[in-house]
Symmetry: C2
Subunit: 119 residues, 2 copies
């Protein structure tokens, strides 16, 4: 675990020029979000009251094999978007809101120069 390499002081927004390193880091997160299955998995986890979902429930919700779901969960995990814990037989996943918040804020147009009304 520990997937944050370049934790810098300030969270970037689109309105500030992005260094190549920072861009690569953010792009990796967005790329992980850029798959419909992963987005649905993430949504399924986030929508769950209690915040935790068993892998078996996720697998049941899709027409995909277990290994495929496992692959997508790993992508989400390695991107720092979710974390998991084994409890006995089952493995439970939950989302990491801080990471989502960082990405959300990066895209937030409130922090971004509005075109044709720029200040």
């Amino acid at each position: 675990m520990s997937s944050q390499q370049n934790a810098e002081c300030c969270e970037p927004t689109l309105s500030e020029a992005l260094s190549p390193d920072r861009a690569a880091e953010l792009a990796r997160s967005f790329k992980v979000l850029g798959d419909p299955v992963r987005l649905r998995v993430l949504s399924l986890i986030a929508a769950r009251r209690g915040g935790e979902v068993c892998v078996c429930d996720i697998t049941d919700a899709f027409d995909l094999t277990g290994p495929t779901i496992s692959y997508h969960l790993r992508q989400l995990r390695e991107a720092g978007l979710v974390d998991c814990e084994r409890r006995g037989t089952w493995v439970y996943y939950w989302i990491i809101p801080a990471k989502l918040g960082l990405l959300s804020q990066f895209l937030d147009p409130a922090d971004t120069v509005t075109p044709t009304a720029g200040a």
Copy 2:
């Protein structure tokens, strides 16, 4: 142009279960954001005072050929993240804040159940 197919009434957030169609639509946007070059291009456009950037300025900022930049700009355009207009010799690009806002809000953890502190 006109890339919004299923404009529904409410913008989705992660906290609500995502339909496969909606997930596919959102994933396409995030996939476009999931490339470091495109993210830097978008940042370069968004950071520009006045909100508009000539393609030639973008191309100059990268160690990539013109066609490659053009390819990425097309991806951004088809995702509805930017739009462009030709003015004489040059083509100018600007971002579309509404689209960014939609994606930002989708990821906003304020709209999302916090794990272990769920409602």
